[in-house]
């Protein structure tokens, strides 16, 4: 199963290496990872998506990360109300006679054109990783010349669903 983990770290040299090294040592498979500054000076937040087999492994992962001296906070936010976004640049082969066709079919994705030349157009698209996947699938037949994805970042919504008996029944 896929889990979304956020890790708040002291922004020191080697900390990214330490966290990814730990994941490698304990045989966790990272699907994507993003890192950037957070609201506090000298700190950074990492968001990564990992594939794990069971609950016990994810508990191990969280505990092992927590043990790192430079790690301040580890959260598995998969079960929470979250907003997740990824950005991709997709350079599509688009000769002039196909360009308006491509533009019209990508329109619902609200992709923006960030660069274009004689035969190619580069779109910038943001959204949930699944939306990016769908966009890629859609333009694939025209030929993708280059693709760059940032990996997903996420935050937890302020308002969370209340755990009610009814809700737990549904789950």
């Amino acid at each position: 199963m896929k889990r979304v983990i956020t890790v708040t770290v002291l922004n020191q040299s080697g900390v990214l290496n330490r966290v990814t090294g730990l994941l490698m040592k304990r045989q966790f498979n990272i699907e994507s990872i993003t890192v950037g500054a957070n609201e506090k000076q000298g700190m950074a937040k990492m968001t990564f998506i990992v594939n794990v087999e069971d609950e016990r492994k994810i508990e191990q992962l969280v505990k092992q990360l927590q043990k790192q001296i430079d790690v301040l906070k580890v959260k598995d936010i998969t079960e929470q109300e979250i907003v997740m976004r990824e950005l991709a640049f997709v350079t599509v082969v688009a000769p002039p006679h196909l360009r308006s066709e491509i533009n019209s079919i990508v329109d619902p994705f609200r992709a923006t054109i960030v660069d274009s030349s004689k035969n190619v157009v580069t779109y910038q698209v943001t959204g949930e990783p699944s939306k990016i996947e769908a966009f890629i699938n859609l333009v694939q037949p025209y030929g993708i010349k280059e693709l760059t994805r940032t990996g997903a970042t996420a935050f937890v919504r302020d308002m969370q669903k209340k755990a009610t008996p009814q809700l737990s029944l549904l789950q």
Binding site: L10, G14, R18, L22, Q66, K67, I69, V71
Partner: protein
């Protein structure tokens, strides 16, 4: 020296540039470091120069691996942080095995490595190695000092991290230019440790303690499992007190030997792959297993699916990541073992009648003791260890490498005291035992220190005999010489149809002459009589000694849990 000269010297000292190296050595003095194990080299020249001017006892081993294993032995026995210095590149990489060993067995070390100057880091400079990258997965934490201003804080943090929580090794990598960099603000030497991401829990949660007490009060077949966490916490006395108060039988892990005296009537022996039959069957049959300070390592548990199938588990560990890692746990308790024992002892607890359980185990211990078949021709390693036990009366500090001799020592040398057992458990490092014994002897100069080693492992770090020659440390080196890589040979016999691939050693040095080369009394013993005589003469005096005990080559360690089997499926068990 008259007062004036003294003052001049003082002045001179103050006028010297106060650089990174001087800060480093000052900080070590401040930490109360009494001995450093190390080996100089180009990148640590400034540090050794500072050490020359402001001395701390330094033990120059003959290989960096010897230095770090000696530091481990020192740390394990003294309870203090072991300090090591090695130079950059090969000096640092030679320390890697010891760092890993300390990580696996939770030994507190601060390891200083030299590094090439910051200006050339990353250019494949002479004797450059990325020791931060290399040691990242095998340290509790590591630092590269970027500026002399950071030095006091980093050293303070390094000692704090190494010695608190679950102890472990911390590497501090010091680029040569930082060691030479002048420290402009010596008043800022006094720094606070500021580690927001590191706050180990030591006090047990009282609700969890109550849950544990409740399970104990319901148990009909309770069992205590003692691990090295008890020793690190200094809780062995309380552990024995707790076991006695409620008459609960005790087993230990390999590293937990010494948590309870070897001859204690409630002690069933070490459990695990080469544990006592009764100890393993007690784990199999118990209905409550209280693990204090052990990590359910695979050599203890055997097949996890068959481990303690009838038991509820209470697991007390200082490291939260160990709880539930291998064994599902009913009551996990994050705590320092000593504090958890204090909390448990403070509770009033009414136990069930456990007399039948205790009697059954006592009977089983009588019916299934350790066994070996004596041989008129050869000394058996087990006999040698029994003799060492008799002559030292179980009071010695004992160190080992890894392999057959280690298991026999664990089985047959009943330790009377905690913190007297220094062995490479987790990593299983050959060459560990002898240098570790030197460190142990330095920590406890008045104790008898016996290093039990195999003929193969000893040759991995035998160069440290120089230290016995130079300082006359009265370490007793006993080589159980079977001319083989004994454990490898035993596995080849049992699991590879006796194909002894590269495990029989045909050619050996003359160990007596080797001892003599280092001016150390050395003996070879071939018979039971010679062995007794030499042991009696040499194990209690205050001289070093090297004894080459020729033992039966084909002897196997039993009983045994074969790899992949459960603890209740031991082979090599004999009913008396």
């Amino acid at each position: 020296m008259n007062a004036e000269a003294q003052m001049n010297e003082q002045k001179e000292k103050q006028q010297l540039p106060y650089d990174g190296s001087a800060v480093l050595i000052d900080a070590l003095h401040q930490q109360g470091v009494e001995v450093i194990f190390g080996y100089p080299g180009g990148a640590v020249l400034p540090i050794y120069d500072a050490l020359y001017k402001n001395p701390i006892r330094h033990v120059l081993t003959r290989h960096e691996q010897g230095a770090i294993h000696a530091a481990e032995g020192y740390a394990r026995v003294s309870g203090k942080v072991g300090v090591v210095i090695g130079t950059s590149g090969p000096g640092a990489t030679n320390l890697v095995t010891g760092i890993t060993d300390a990580m696996m067995d939770s030994i507190p070390l601060v390891v200083f490595t030299g590094q090439v100057s910051s200006t050339v880091i990353g250019t494949d400079a002479f004797q450059e190695a990325d020791i931060i990258g290399i040691t990242q997965p095998i340290t509790k934490h590591n630092y590269q000092v970027q500026s002399v201003e950071d030095m006091p804080r980093i050293i303070k943090e390094a000692f704090h991290i190494a010695s608190t929580g679950r102890p472990g090794p911390v590497v501090v990598d010091v680029p040569k230019n930082v060691a030479n960099e002048v420290f402009e603000t010596p008043e800022s030497l006094d720094v606070e440790v500021n580690l927001p991401g590191y706050q180990p829990t030591t006090e047990p949660n009282f609700k969890q303690i109550e849950k544990a007490v409740h399970l104990l009060s319901e148990a009909k077949k309770p069992l205590l499992l003692g691990g090295a966490g008890i020793l690190h916490a200094g809780g062995a006395d309380l552990f024995v007190q707790f076991a006695e108060k409620y008459d609960i039988p005790v087993v230990t892990t390999l590293l937990g030997l010494g948590t309870i005296p070897g001859n204690h009537p409630q002690f069933l022996g070490m459990a695990g792959m080469h544990g006592y039959y009764t100890a393993n069957m007690a784990i199999n049959d118990c209905d409550l297993l209280v693990n204090i300070g052990a990590r359910f390592d695979d050599r203890l548990t055997g097949d996890l699916a068959k481990f303690a199938p009838n038991a509820k588990v209470v697991h007390i560990d200082i490291d939260p990541a160990e709880l539930g890692k291998n064994i599902p746990t009913e009551v996990p308790i994050v705590a320092d073992a000593k504090k958890a024992l204090e909390a448990l002892l403070s509770k009033q607890l009414t136990m069930q009648d456990t007399s039948r359980w205790n009697e059954k185990l006592k009977q089983m211990s009588k019916d299934y003791p350790l066994w070996y078949e004596t041989d008129d021709e050869f000394i058996l390693p087990q006999e040698a260890l029994e003799a060492v036990h008799d002559i030292t009366e179980g009071e010695a500090i004992v160190t080992t490498d890894v392999g057959q001799h280690q298991m026999w020592t664990a089985q047959y040398y009943g330790l009377n005291n905690p913190d007297s057992w220094v062995t490479s458990g987790g990593l299983g490092t050959m060459g560990f035992g002898f240098p570790a014994a030197i460190g142990a002897q330095i920590a406890k100069p008045d104790r008898t220190v016996v290093s039990i080693v195999g003929d193969a492992g000893f040759q991995m770090t035998a160069q440290e005999l120089s230290l016995l020659q130079e300082f006359r440390y009265p370490v007793k080196v006993i080589i159980l010489n079977n001319g083989a890589l004994g454990m490898v040979r035993q596995w080849q016999e049992e699991f590879y149809d006796e194909r002894y691939s590269e495990s029989l050693i045909q050619v050996q040095p003359d160990f007596v002459k080797l001892g003599e080369a280092y001016n150390i009394p050395a003996y070879r013993v071939d018979t039971h009589e010679e062995m007794r005589e030499v042991f009696e003469k040499t194990l209690t005096n205050d001289e070093p000694v090297l004894i080459d005990v020729r033992v039966k080559q084909m002897e196997n360690v039993y009983p045994m849990v074969a790899p992949g089997a459960g603890l209740n499926e031991m082979i090599g068990v004999k009913r008396q």
